[in-house]
Amino acid sequence: MSGATLTHKNNVSLLSRLGISKSGLVMTAYLVFLMLPLYWLLNMSLKTNEEILSTFTLWPDNLTFQNYITIFTDPSWYSGYINSITYVVLNTIISITVALPAAYAFSRYRFLGDQHLFFWLLTNRMAPPAVFALPFFQLYSSVGLFDTHIAVALAHCLFNVPLMVWILEGFMSGVPKEIDETAYIDGYSFPKFFVKIFMPLIASGIGVAAFFCFMFSWVELLLARTLTSVDAKPIAATMTRTVGAAGIDWGVLAAAGILTIIPGALVIWFVRNYIAKGFALGRV
């Protein structure tokens, strides 16, 4: 009997060990697939153009940081980063500020036309930016906002605000409304309750929402490029500059690409524990 239990135990542990190694294998394969193109970009960014074009090496023969130095010493390059970060941060602040009260309204009350309004907001998330590129250009040109950071920040609100409302509503619905009622009985006014009690309760939700705002504003290019020419030109648009008369400057292009990934990677690191829940829009 004891022997049977022992074998059984062994079987389970062996199976689970095998199970782990199988999952591990799948995950490793998947992560390698994800990392390969990034590794290649990094590899290229550390090579000289001669090496990129003449030989095929898996690791740079002559390691060089010249491509990065080119970017950090040329204002037309690094100003692209500053521009991108400026409008992304502006957009995140605007989106969160307007989405917070709206999400609260949707999660706590029913009101005339609420469901229609919610769906209408979502439709803006569904609108192809290509549809809006030309009208945006005309609209922002006519009000004198063309080629400013605020124009891009406002344009990105088109798809970010609806998403923010959606995510925040999910997180807020998870907070029992007895908390609201208790606070009102304790004599809190709405704004004081909202800032002092409610916002700390959904802090992780706000963090996740901000992450998504950052992400979608950071990766979007079509609108950002249409609405800017010089002063607010995003880094992603600056990258097309590497195509010169002498062909493409592959090394600098790769270095610029690597540098656009770094802010995203930093932000991911901060929200890593909430990413999964955030992608489910707070609805798990």
Binding site: S23, A102, R110, M126
Partner: protein
């Protein structure tokens, strides 16, 4: 949750309504305006009614882009959703592997879309790219700028690379919400791996899968930058998806009337399908809360 009816809540949503109206309704009205008018330049417009719409609906160019778009969206959904579930089932549940895989998997999602295009454009080149060189080294004749099949394979591989993690992370969040007791019960019942998946994990993931499906449908239907950078819509027009075609028409050729009609039909298709998915989703929520 029981919600009180209170129209004062409108004050709370007012800022959003104003902001979105400014950034969505005004431009959309401009599009509608163009779609029913024609111009000979000098800002002189005249009414043409539904002429552009009729032209668009019957135009071969629009049909072809639409078919390509449905093909693309269909293929990537058919790959990304099952693959995402599969990856999520294999993700580590505790230990150092969790943050590592979460961070590495999210990385492609945070890469600007034109950089995604650039990465794959370089990666697939047969002279300087790892993928292209490796495939050609293995004796496979691969060239995404010449061969239609290779071009499609490249943009699909790119989209799978870019977005499968989103599906996987969503499913992972759904799986994480399943209490351990369910698995123990399944084990006692002697349920097979498939039965556990079919009757415990899949139902719990249904909701997040709907979100994943909705998001992936919308985003893949709007895709523009990535395939443009990789293939430029070519070879020929073989990878010219709807958005690429639209921008070509509106900004390249400046055919405002047809482009506007195109925009509106395009938008309506997305709206219709998303509305159907959204209705399924909200009905599902209601069914669950009962």
């Amino acid at each position: 949750m029981d919600k009180p009816f209170n129209n004062k809540a409108w004050f709370l949503v007012l800022p959003v309504v104003i902001l979105v109206a400014f950034s969505a309704v005004i431009p959309l009205m401009t599009v509608v305006n163009y779609s029913v008018q024609d111009t000979f330049g000098n800002n002189a417009f005249f009414w043409v009614g539904t002429e552009w719409f009729q032209e668009m609906i019957t135009s071969e160019r629009f049909h072809n882009s639409l078919i390509r778009q449905f093909m693309f969206t269909g293929i990537i959904l058919a790959i990304e959703i099952p693959l995402g579930i599969f990856v999520a089932l294999n993700m580590p549940k505790k230990g150092w592997g969790v943050p590592v895989s979460l961070v590495l998997m999210s990385l492609p999602l945070l890469v600007p879309w034109n950089v995604v295009g650039t990465i794959w454009q370089v990666f697939g080149r047969e002279d300087i790219g790892l993928l292209g060189a490796a495939l050609n080294g293995m004796g496979i004749d691969y060239n995404y700028t010449q061969n239609i099949f290779d071009a499609w394979a490249t943009i699909i591989a790119m989209d799978v690379w870019h977005w499968t993690s989103l599906v996987a992370l969503l499913c992972y969040a759904g799986l994480a919400s399943i209490p351990e007791a369910y698995y123990q019960a399944a084990k006692i019942d002697g349920a097979s791996r498939w039965a556990t998946f079919r009757y415990i994990e899949l139902p719990k993931m249904q909701r997040v899968l709907l979100i994943a499906f909705l998001l992936r449908f919308m985003d893949s239907f709007m895709i523009y930058t990535e395939p443009l950078v990789v293939t430029g819509g070519g070879p020929g027009n073989s990878t010219t998806l709807l958005s690429i075609d639209l921008v070509k028409m509106a900004i390249g050729q400046f055919d405002l009337g047809p482009a506007a009609a195109f925009s509106i039909i395009y938008f309506l298709i997305i709206l219709l399908i998303s509305w159907a998915l959204y209705t399924i989703m909200t009905n599902y929520d209601k069914g669950e809360s009962k």
